[in-house]
């Protein structure tokens, strides 16, 4: 039981309920006291102060609660707006009816009190008092008259034998008490029907003075301190003893008849109460007003406090939910909100907790998936980046999305700065003009059926023509429509070159094997034919035969040179490496082309610091001859052709050899193919010169490049290692 009481008091409504209940009881008791509950009258003042300070306490609690609400409103505590709004609404809903009830209660109380004191009641009561007083006065006059008559009759007997006469008069008048005094106030004789043996109360001195003046006295009197129930008729008459010249006073006490006495008492009490109440009319109104005001305040404040507490209790789960939502919005998914109720709000919070857990779980899964996707993306990016094939992707608006290094390398451009730009805008820029032809070929290949395609294309740029194998496909999307394009570019130039080289090597070997062998018998047969038949023919026929056999022999020699060239191209003999002075070799070869009559000139510029290198002198000599011949052939249409051979020591391990002419340069379309057999457009030559040069450079593990332009001519740049 004690625990329950403690629990109740420690709850939100505990003390408030206790205070409100006590105040209500106190106000009820005060109201009863005001309505003549005189047994509690002495406690009224105490109750008044307790009620007063109780109301003050409630006001303080209310103000404190409102200040707390205000502070929470300023701090924007979750749910406070709803609490405030509901509090205002319910306060208005409570306050207005209570105020109306208070107003009408006040009016009724005031009117009720006023109606107690209407004129008719007051007049009736006043008349009743006068009636009773008239009746009593009449009684008094009658008793005075009867006493005077009895005194007149027994006056002399009274003086002579007072005791007997008093008895006789008393019986005749039916008086309660008779007493005879002399003028000095000394008791002479007395007679009493009730208190025999108790001396009567002497008249007041002022009454003796009246007796001495020979005046009679008759009045209704009350025993000292007593009410009308103890009233009596007091008659005092002067008694003259003319013989002895003395004066006596006869005092007669008459009882008032019970019926008249009761009536008089009732009227007196009613009159007294009415008088008291008539005076207390205004204070009564004040007191009832105060009590009603306290009741109003108690009701209103208690209702407000209970309302606020109740609303706070109702909105607490909403506040909890709002706080939880705020935490979730900040990314805290580990939150679990407490559930302290089993109602719908509790279920809502439980559902919210479950939802947060589900979101947290889904979020973790998404995060894990994102990490996986990111890793996959990085993995793919690494693969694509390191691919030798170029990879380009475009979105469905033809904006460049991604590309790798190999793309730039294959297309000899830099597209990284153009990521995000539309392909049309990219191609309009001067730096990317060379890509126009490529993409004009590529984009029409994307088909609506989204099937992947592959196509071998040629790509021409400033560095020559490349053969590309291009694969294309559209990128899928979630809605099954294409989401862009992907282009994979493979540079197959080297592969094709290798295939060509292998084919030409095979052709060369076949030529060497199938053609070279019959040439010698053909030549010998032609010579023998000329020798045997020449003497048997006439001069004209002899000349014809000689011319024809010469032609055969000449063509056989030409074919033999051609076959030798092919043999040279196809042959892969072991290099005979020696320490070669490249400068000396250059000088020897260039000097062989000194011809003052020619309209061309071959010169050399050698680097004295150029060291010796490990190389096959015969092969390098052939290399120089082939390049100089190629240069001279390029300068045939130039009035002053010039070929320069230059050496240069690049570093400790490499030597550079440059052979440059001032011819018309190499067309860009064949720039990449000039080292292939029969790639030349020149009418002369075997078409194998530069192929053999490339072969010799490769055999020496060197590199060869060509720089060519129509204005400056062509330069072959050979980089040879110092040691093999």
């Amino acid at each position: 039981m004690k625990k329950r009481i403690k629990l109740f008091l420690s709850s939100q409504y505990g003390w408030l309920s206790v205070i409100s209940s006590i105040l209500l009881v106190i106000l009820m008791v005060m109201s009863q006291i005001l309505q003549n509950a005189s047994q509690f009258a002495e406690s009224y003042s105490t109750l008044l102060f307790i009620a007063f300070f109780g109301i003050i306490l409630l006001v303080i609690i209310l103000v404190k609660t409102l200040l707390k609400l205000r502070q929470q409103y300023r701090q924007k505590v979750a749910g406070i707006k709803l609490t405030t709004r509901l509090t205002l609404i319910i306060s208005a809903l409570l306050g207005i009816p209570l105020t109306i009830v208070f107003y009408f209660s006040m009016s009724f109380v005031h009117q009720g009190i006023d109606q107690w004191f209407d004129v008719k009641t007051e007049t009736a009561l006043s008349n009743a008092v006068k009636l009773v007083q008239t009746s009593l006065d009449d009684q008094t006059r009658r008793k005075l008259n009867s006493t005077q008559q009895a005194l007149k009759r027994y006056q002399q007997d009274l003086i002579n034998s007072p005791i007997l006469t008093l008895n006789k008069i008393g019986e005749q008048l039916n008086a309660r008490e008779l007493s005879l005094y002399n003028s000095d106030g000394q008791l002479i004789a007395y007679n009493s029907q009730e208190n025999i043996g108790i001396l009567p109360t002497a008249p007041a001195p002022r009454l003796f003075q009246q007796i001495r003046k020979r005046l009679s006295y008759a009045a209704i009197e009350t025993q000292p301190g007593a009410n009308s129930q103890h009233q009596f008729i007091h008659v005092i008459l002067p008694v003259n003893d003319l013989l002895n010249n003395k004066l006596y006073a006869l005092q007669v006490i008459f009882p008032i008849p019970d019926q008249l006495s009761n009536l008089a008492n009732t009227v007196q009490v009613a009159s007294g109460q009415y008088q008291e109440l008539s005076y207390l009319r205004a204070p009564l109104k004040t007191s009832f007003t105060v009590i009603l005001t306290m009741v109003l305040l108690l009701t209103l404040i208690s209702a407000l406090l209970f309302t606020i507490r109740t609303i706070e209790n109702i909105t607490r789960p909403i506040r909890t939910l709002a706080e939880g939502t705020e935490e979730v919005s900040k990314g805290n998914y580990s939150l679990t909100m407490p559930i302290d109720r089993q109602d719908e709000m509790g279920q809502l919070i439980q559902s919210f907790n479950d939802m947060i857990q589900q979101i947290a779980k889904a979020r973790n899964e998404i995060k894990f998936g994102q990490q996986q996707a990111e890793m996959q993306k990085l993995y793919l990016q690494a693969i694509i980046k390191n691919l030798n094939s170029g990879v380009l992707t475009f979105d469905n608006h033809m904006r460049l999305k991604t590309l790798n290094d190999a793309t730039n390398l294959i297309l000899n451009t830099d597209l990284f700065s153009q990521v995000g730009n539309e392909i049309g805008d990219i191609l309009n820029q001067p730096d990317y003009q060379a890509l126009n032809g490529f993409f004009e070929q590529v984009f029409p290949l994307f088909r609506e059926d989204a099937k992947p395609w592959s196509q071998q294309l040629s790509y021409d740029d400033f560095h020559g023509r490349k053969m590309l194998l291009v694969h294309g496909s559209t990128l899928p999307s979630l809605d099954q429509k294409f989401n862009g394009y992907v282009i994979v570019i493979e540079d197959i130039t080297k592969l094709i070159k290798a295939q060509l080289h292998a084919a030409w090597s095979d052709v060369a070997q076949r030529l060497a094997h199938e053609i070279k062998n019959p040439l010698t018998p053909i030549q010998l047969s032609a010579e023998r034919l000329n020798f045997k038949l020449s003497s048997k023919l006439e001069d004209s026929d002899q000349k014809l035969l000689a011319r024809m056999t010469d032609t055969i022999i000449e063509q056989v020699l030409a074919m033999q040179n051609l076959v030798d060239a092919f043999t040279e191209y196809a042959d892969t003999p072991e290099l005979e490496l020696t320490q070669l002075d490249l400068n000396g070799l250059v000088k020897d070869v260039v000097n062989m082309y000194k011809d003052p009559k020619a309209n061309w000139r071959v010169s050399y510029e050698i680097d004295p610091q150029c060291p010796t290198l490990s190389a096959d002198p015969a092969k390098l000599r052939q290399l120089l001859h082939n390049l100089i011949k190629n240069g001279l052939e390029a300068c045939e249409t130039i009035p002053q052709g010039r070929v320069r051979v230059m050496t240069q020591s690049l570093d400790e391990h490499h030597i550079q050899l440059r052979v440059c002419d001032n011819g018309n340069g190499i067309p860009e379309t064949i720039k990449n193919w000039i080292f292939e057999p029969y790639a030349t457009g020149k009418p002369k030559g075997t078409g194998l010169g530069l192929s053999i040069v490339k072969k010799i450079v490769d055999e020496h593990h060197g590199q060869i490049q060509v720089e060519s332009s129509p204005d400056t001519g062509t330069c072959f740049i050979i980089k040879l290692p110092q040691t093999q």
Binding site: L34, A41, Y44, G225, G272, E276, Y279, A282, P283
Partner: protein, 194 residues
Amino acid sequence: MRLTLLKWLQLSLIMTFVGTPIAQADIHIRYLNDYQIDQQLVLDAQVDFKLDPIITKAVNHEIPLNFITEIELNESYSLMGFSLSRNRVKIVYESQLNYFGFNQIYVITNKRNQKVQSFSSLSEALRTMGTLSNFNLANLSDLHPNTLYTIKIRVSLNQWKLPTPLILDALWNSAWQLDSGWHQIQIQSPKSWL
């Protein structure tokens, strides 16, 4: 104790909310004399009552008034150089003033000795109530001849015994704040009774 508490509450309420200053007491101690009769210390005092018309009207409407008379005899002594006072006699009693309109009499009831007196006029009743004559205070043998004594008297209206509805008005209206305050005289036994 209860009266003191109620007085304090009354004072705090008035000072806090009404702000009306307490009016000068309309009960005045005209004189207070002491003398000795038959080895008894007795006193005579006369208290004048000047009632506001509001109160007179209330009396005439048969509202009973209770007046508290407090009489103290205190003994002064010195302890370690400090002057202290010790109460030897304390008498507190109430007198009730009633008016009976039917009989048109004023009745005074002394609740100490239950003596009742009736008067035809209010002034007569008040004069009688305010007269203390031959009031026996203490036995001289209980007092020290060389000690200084103080006699104090105070008469006030007991508002808390007014009819309940009138209490609030009495608290807020200075006319009802009837209090003579303490009136005291010092007596030294040799001078007084030797």
